[in-house]
Symmetry: C2
Subunit: 404 residues, 2 copies
């Protein structure tokens, strides 16, 4: 047999120097096992609740009903039709399946939107902090990043206006604002209705698009949330992406992008030389949703995640030192913890891991590396009974850092 590991050439080595980075850590994981500890690190969904039995049954059903269109090259249009109907009901938007393009997760939706809009040197304005997986996608497309500040209610519109004005004065071309207005990653914050309206007016005035990421849609544990930016948009400048990764299963790789003009989705689709999503999972998910199982499953998830969130809030109250503050999200997967300025959450991460608890340092959520006294706490994957001991340990590590 040929030993391929002996095969090298000088110019193959050059390839290794090409841009590293890229997708979120969870995607780069090609089978490696994480260390055993209580982890608040990743925004992965709760595992015991995956509807595996129902998915197997539905697969059996669609395979016996209409296997050929599902297994052939194609597009899972029934899922787009389900989503259009759902959105019509949920948001009052008068759309059809042509206003929706199904993608391989919302990650692919974001990537394709970039291919549609971005030219080298273009700026993307993001919330500070934000979801860094999206930022890496923007950077992979040679975009520059500008950060817009937030307060407890999300994006500060006046500051965003000043930023856009300043960038324009500097001759910099902003193509779009990337926002997660509801249960934001990483802060859990939700942008209020008045700010949403103001954001759309502002974007239109500056002639920039809005990419609205609503990854946690439906996972509402308390109160109400305003309509989508897409729903409120009278100008057709909002592109909206969603996913089934949080309410069904990430392994299905199903997301979507929607907008007012179907012909733009045709262009976006034609740019997808990475290939379309799996019809195998697309048709299964469509049938799962059509039969009411997605709505039922989402209600079960709300119960699970609400309990985890409440356990988190109680634990933070009990174990975090004076001078700490944290968000109280209405939904989603994340709580944002701000510690006293002198705590460096990058520095103490190793100690936390040694003590058996893991988290994402806040600076991993800023393109600029700010937020070193902050932590993103994901409560979605962690087991309910591990939350209290995990936060106790974290509190001890932080207290030691404050004393030391």
């Amino acid at each position: 047999v040929t030993d391929v590991t002996a095969q090298t050439s000088d110019y193959t080595s050059n390839l290794l120097a090409r841009r590293a980075g890229g997708a979120p850590a969870a995607w780069n994981n090609m089978g490696a096992k994480p260390r055993k500890m209580i982890s608040f690190t990743y925004g992965l969904p709760d595992e015991p609740s995956f509807p595996s039995k129902e998915l197997a049954e539905i697969t059996n059903q669609v395979m016996s009903e209409q296997a050929a269109p599902i297994l052939q090259y194609g597009y899972p249009r029934p899922l787009a039709e389900y989503l259009a109907g759902f959105i019509k009901k949920d948001q009052g938007l008068d759309i059809t399946a042509d206003n929706i393009l199904i993608t391989a997760g919302s990650g692919q939706a974001i990537s394709l939107f970039c291919r549609l809009t971005l030219e080298p040197g273009d700026y993307v304005v993001v919330e500070a902090p934000t979801f860094l997986g999206a930022v890496k996608t923007f950077q992979n497309q040679d975009a520059q990043i500008a950060e817009a500040p937030m307060d407890d209610e999300g994006l500060i519109i006046e500051e965003l206006d000043a930023l856009l004005t300043q960038l324009k004065a500097e001759g910099k071309r902003v193509k779009f604002i990337y926002t997660i207005p509801t249960f934001q990653n990483p802060t859990g914050r939700t942008l209020g209705l008045e700010r949403r309206k103001a954001l759309i007016e502002l974007a239109h005035r500056h002639e920039v698009f809005i990419l609205e990421d609503d990854a946690y849609h439906g996972l509402l544990y308390q109160g109400e949330v305003p309509s989508w930016l897409w729903t409120l948009d009278p100008y057709g400048i909002v592109f909206h992406c969603g996913t089934l990764s949080k309410t069904l299963a990430p392994g299905m790789r199903l997301g979507w992008i929607g907008c007012a003009r179907p012909e733009l989705l045709v262009v976006i689709n034609s740019l997808n030389d990475g290939g379309p999503t799996s019809s195998y999972s697309g048709y299964v998910a469509a049938k799962f949703a059509e039969q009411g199982l997605l709505a039922k499953h989402t209600r079960q998830l709300i119960d699970i995640y609400r309990r985890k969130r409440d356990r988190m809030l109680a634990g933070l109250e009990r174990y975090m030192p004076d001078g700490s503050k944290w968000t109280e999200p209405q939904g989603g997967f994340f709580i944002w913890l701000e510690l006293p300025e002198q705590v460096d959450t990058v520095k103490i991460l190793g100690k936390a891991q040694e003590a058996g608890v893991n988290y994402l340092p806040g600076s991993a959520c800023y393109a600029s590396g700010k937020g070193r006294n902050c932590i993103r706490l994901a409560f979605s994957l962690v087991k309910l009974e591990e939350i209290e001991p995990g936060l106790r340990t974290l509190g001890e590590v932080i207290s030691q850092a404050l004393e030391g």
Copy 2:
């Protein structure tokens, strides 16, 4: 409800001007139905043979055994492990699962390889004719295309040498040669062993990589085929992509790229901000293959496609006018038909369709638009009993064109 079709703005219209084109026609099909006729157009697999029942059973099995890793964010490593074992046996290559990266079809593999290697203005050398879906991917990455001529045995090595030398002299940087050496799309030709060895030496001398696409692997109906370029490569310059779209089902969206150096696959994977493939289909396919069902199914497909190929060859012999010639592929999906010079297959396509038969004009397989007297005939999707009447009709349309 809001009528989104009324939502437009001047600067959204500009987006429509952005590069159209992109993916192959079958991928762009967002649910539209083709006209009813006998079609030799698309290289889609035979539909009645899809193993839908077995896939449903296997899905049930993997869902009951280990649902969480399949439904969570992740990577279908068992499929990479199966493929590594298969390749070790089939090709004698001493590789592991780390030499394989599973992708969403080989289309994504090709796209990611481009992201690894291509910088704007780089040249890619392709066979003339070739698979235009790949060419569109190269062009989407701002590559220039150069065509290398073929004869009945595939790429002509001396001509390729001259082309590479000329491009270098003109200061043009060729990054890789894209080749489908076995049952080529669109010609069905297979490159012989000596030319394979010479191709590798030539590429190494010119310091260009080879992207070997073996989409039809295993679908051998007659004789034997040489080892892969990857297998014959002592320099580590061959990247090999494969797919389960022809031997299992395109709707599963499963392909792969392999190379000598695992660390390059880690870089390629990190460039995949379009998102990974579906674990849901990946784990199912792995189990399907591990249980021997893929090998068994491939044997059934060989019988089906061999009969279709033989029916094609008999029909061409009977119905094509004097001065025509065609390839006799050992395997794969395609026959390449060359008609007398004066026949314009683009011009007569409309007449053929009116008469009830469809095909891909040869010029759709050249980046340069050559081959107007040629036709690609796919015999994979067409029903066995439609082949003879389809070719009879095609022969009539061509004869009329020759007379007219």
